[in-house]
Symmetry: C3
Amino acid sequence: MTLERKNYPHMPKPFGAFMHAVRTGEWLFISGLTAGENAPPDIVEQTEITMDRMKKVLEAEGGSLKDVIRVTVYVTELDKLMEIHEVRNRYFGDALPASTLVQVTALVRPELKFEMEAIARLGQ
Amino acid sequence: MTLERKNYPHMPKPFGAFMHAVRTGEWLFISGLTAGENAPPDIVEQTEITMDRMKKVLEAEGGSLKDVIRVTVYVTELDKLMEIHEVRNRYFGDALPASTLVQVTALVRPELKFEMEAIARLGQ
Amino acid sequence: MTLERKNYPHMPKPFGAFMHAVRTGEWLFISGLTAGENAPPDIVEQTEITMDRMKKVLEAEGGSLKDVIRVTVYVTELDKLMEIHEVRNRYFGDALPASTLVQVTALVRPELKFEMEAIARLGQ
């Protein structure tokens, strides 16, 4: 099955040896997205930017956030967990994915506090 | 491909914007499960409760732990790693999955020490 | 769909309740690989060993690193991130996967600094 390697114009080009996402048939594997360079310090605002970026990735593939099966979320602080989930609720609506969320030591840059990767199945 | 979003009665309802699992055809993506509220302090006991919860998720889908392809395990301490694997061995038996295990800073609640997510393929 | 549970002779047998990889049809889920016992202290050298091990897993399945859809990388330090990506670039070449990379507290043994798991789709 062919793998289609994808970068999207609404996000900075990956700084390292990876793509924004890889598609194989109906399946889309999205890299860990963050609020990127110039991210605001607040983790809730970072969540908002990241969710918006993920939404646009799915739209670029002809889908939507409803197609997301599971997300894995990495955060560097847990204080605003409920506010993070409010943002996630607003974006996912009734189409909630499976999820794992853990607190890690750091993301790729010290100012980043929220990272979300996803597996989606398109073509519904 | 339709996504079926699932919560199960043997576990507390998710506190945030996610489901216990999402099924798409034969594939089942299970959220990071833990021993939940009122978890015992011992990580080995938490492993036991979590494994039992995962077993029941798979049974609710007409499958079993034999259908698990890969687990990702997040722990907050590594001291009892071999005992954790004894519990896992007891539950998985001969049908061992692929696995990743890392120590993270924290799980969603401070008393939680063990979290396991899984990808399964049913219908064997 | 049958699950094929795989261990490979080029790596030590798993110490716990898991296999090196599980294959189901075209899909291959590879456990978190590391440089293993007697790993050199340098994270860049550990990356090299791990990439080589992953390459050999894929070759044993009749594929190559080009079949990798997404990797998840866990590191215990971020100082040599660009050098890690140089190694990854050298191995993946033009066929870059999706990726998530986070810094965690520890991997299964204190001397390990780099771990990489992967999802691949073979038969291209």
